[in-house]
Assembly symmetry: C2
Homo-oligomer: 491 residues x 2
């Protein structure tokens, strides 16, 4: 069964080196009549500066941050409001042109690649925070608003939006990919934090998943369409607005670093911290290879051992208790004394090191590419899966430092590989498939937060029963009968 990197054609056509132009021309001429007519219609809707067919712009919109090779769209449109998105979608619908929604291009599974050509909808011009209700802890934003932009906007309100995948992704993009990240153990993922979505469907119709403008904390009003579109990766519609839950900024936050003699000791500590009821805000695992890379990249000097990065949120008194319980647990498991980060600057430096893991890994082999695995397993199975995975890496002479949201049972091997070495690409491909199957064999999933995108479609079929896949295909066919919404992804 083909899978992973091989499916991406990486060994045939390494990223960055592909010439987008030839592919585009071929596609363009094949359906030039429809495309030309559509582009003329786009211009009448969005003006000349709202439509681009220049190769640089198309290339920029044909790839995300993953190894998946550039698959440029035939055109990029830059709508300014939902009515414009709808009008443009109707043109695509009429001409059966694929629609690929684009937020910030920070995805990790090739979700923005125009594998069947078509039109990229860049939503960056729709960047307004629309409705903030501080007393109700909710806000509605347009799709161009990023996580950091929202939190900057909220700065003086005492509120924040905690879901943090690392990248400064757009919030609708995060909803589309069911993103989560380091804070999910405490605040949940996008699934738990989206209250409502405005969506433009494949035929240009506009819907509001929970009714227009509605924002109750709870609802039992019909099918949960909100959570059907969260994680649908642009294959069911274009998210043009999201209403999000907000949280009060905690009175105090403190971070700490603790190293362990073994992976097992670090994960055992995590399990016990969760069992003890400590409402820990972040608990991130980095293996010895990852810590070494972070030390080098960020000029730090943490012991090169399995390590937990921790963060506690709460009142000063509650923090004291949380920290005491956690320290007792880590000490019993042979953990080091905590290295503290209390003031905001030190905390930021610490978490920057964690969030730079991707670049720190890449710096291990300059000129190489990175691909992140994303399995998620029941936490009791985590030590076994991580230990076996590290043995597998060593056995196959592969570089894949591990960073993980261990509180959720989710971890990433950041595979650093030379895309021009077919043998290495093959070994990485086989490794990622083995890792996914290791997770599946212990009741886990091949993707905890990055999504299926292009690279995990075969693994998804192994993970789900055929009848479950049929239900997903049925829903896709109902909402997008012509298969124009981000075709070639998920299913």
């Amino acid at each position: 069964m083909s899978s992973g990197l091989l499916r991406l054609g990486l060994q045939l056509c390494p990223a960055r080196r592909v010439s987008c132009h030839g592919a585009w021309r071929k596609h363009y001429s094949a359906q030039s009549g429809a495309l030309e007519k559509a582009i003329a219609a786009f211009r009448s809707v969005s003006g000349d500066d709202g439509v681009s067919t220049g190769s640089a712009v198309r290339e920029q919109h044909g790839r995300d941050e993953s190894v998946h090779r550039c698959r440029p769209p035939d055109a990029v449109v830059f709508p300014r409001c939902v009515e414009e998105v709808s009008a443009l979608a109707k043109i695509c619908h009429q001409h059966r042109l694929p629609i690929i929604p684009f937020g910030t291009g920070t995805g990790l599974e090739g979700g923005v690649g125009a594998v069947k050509g078509g039109v990229c909808f860049s939503l960056r011009k729709m960047d307004q925070v629309l409705d903030l209700h501080p007393e109700d802890f909710d806000v509605t934003v347009e799709p161009g608003v990023t996580r950091k932009a929202l939190n900057a906007y909220l700065r003086d309100t005492g509120l924040w939006f905690p879901v943090d995948p690392g990248a400064d992704a757009s919030l609708c993009g995060m909803a589309a990919t069911s993103a989560s990240g380091t804070n999910a153990v405490r605040y949940g993922t996008m699934r738990e934090n989206v209250l409502n979505l405005e969506v433009v469907l494949a035929d240009g119709k506009i819907i509001h998943t929970a009714g227009k403008g509605r924002r109750p904390r709870k609802t039992a009003a019909g099918y949960n369409l909100t959570n059907l579109f969260v994680g649908s990766e642009g294959t069911l519609g274009i998210l043009t607005k999201t209403t999000l839950r907000l949280y009060g900024i905690p009175e105090s936050m403190v971070s700490a670093v603790c190293s362990f003699p073994s992976v097992q000791a670090a994960v055992d500590s995590t399990v016990q911290v969760l069992q003890s009821g400590v409402p820990i805000a972040r608990i991130e695992f980095l293996d010895d290879v990852m810590i070494g890379a972070c030390n080098h990249f960020n000029s730090l000097s943490y012991p090169v051992l399995p390590t937990l990065f921790l963060e506690f949120h709460g009142s000063s008194r509650s923090l004291e208790e949380q920290v005491n319980v956690t320290e007792e647990i880590t000490r019993e498991n042979g953990g080091s004394d905590f290295a503290w980060a209390e003031d905001e600057e030190t905390r930021s430096r610490l978490w920057k090191a964690r969030h730079d893991a991707w670049y720190a890994a890449l710096a291990l082999r300059p000129g190489c590419k990175a691909y992140a695995t994303d399995v998620c397993v029941p936490i009791s199975r985590l030590p076994q899966v991580i230990v076996e995975t590290k043995e597998d890496l060593i056995r196959n002479n592969l570089i894949g430092p591990i960073a993980g949201h261990v509180g959720d049972g989710n971890f990433h091997c950041i595979m650093v590989l030379n895309p021009d070495d077919p043998d290495e690409v093959q070994r990485v491909h086989e490794f990622t498939d083995r890792l996914a199957r290791r997770a599946l064999s212990v009741d886990g999933t091949c993707t905890g937060e990055h999504g299926v995108g292009l690279g995990k479609r075969n693994l998804l079929q192994e993970e789900l029963c055929p009848h479950t896949m049929e239900v997903m295909q049925g829903i896709k066919a109902t909402l997008d009968p012509n298969n124009i919404m981000n075709p070639g992804k998920i299913l």
Copy 2:
């Protein structure tokens, strides 16, 4: 527009007094060939004692705890395993007979009424707790397992399942109706606590929404089918297994009662407690009428004033801090001193009083029936909506004590009415529609947790945009093309 109680035919055919027999005979003879063949086939699958067509059994399965009149099915089957559910469903599919799943019959929106006849699938014989993973905080149960049965099973593990709608409902029934209740402000609703579902579809196929046996805490593997089936009220399939999140039983719990000079003061206190970040476990509002009824029904002597019932969960130290912050807030809003309930017996008595609200309300007018409204609004709008609603009740001479999960913005008027008085039924009907529209006018929903069922289908259309309804109808048609899954509900 017809709605609410009128739609239920209550004034024409009061509950309990309807003769189910005539309706059944008529239906039976209309399609007797198919039904007789199906019943014979059921018997070959389930044996004689697995199928019932007796009128008492059918009547018992044709109603829930609401005012909705009895709509008995043509037959009731009692499958013992998922394969049997599947075989029986295939027979219904073949003969185009409606399928109505039945848990404990504790719903409040007429969800089990066989409005088009058909076959009730009583799932009470499937009552096993199947897979408990204490270290992963998850468990899988069959559909006959109730909330209390699960918590009794878990007693020695230090774990519990906190979602608590009051009734001892089956957990799959709670998933089917997206139930929540008093603990939702802290622990979420069924939407946040179901990890996986086994579902028998309308054609008898068996699916697992997150893949068979899978139970990662997070997943981004394809469409979120789990949350499509949660809240689908039996209209998309029969839930035959659910995997649930569990929580550690808190080290300490303490409950308190506090009365206020006004509704505004009680709700303001709630908002401020939430804003202060106190992780309160329950915060329940009872208006003066409700408190009076509870006093009378449970021989209590709380002041007859707007009241909050509170519960705090955590370590002893954390409880102290939570209580201090909350007391300070309630005192500033003119609240009384807290009446405490610390030991388990006193706490149980207090919460029994809250959970008996339904019966306490009914006891206000012996011989009458009750109907609970269920609006949910952004919390900042709650004081206005409750005050206007109380004025509306008084103006129309209606009895509707109010109990609410104010932390979520969700409250119930327990309307106590004489079903034989058409004028009163009409006034209640008009009141419930006004209340729902009042909620809709402030960005809320007509149903926070009871579901749409029979009675709120028209309100759902007002709440959602037509295109959103079309998407729901499309999904229904895809999964149930012959409309045999609990027809006449939601859509």
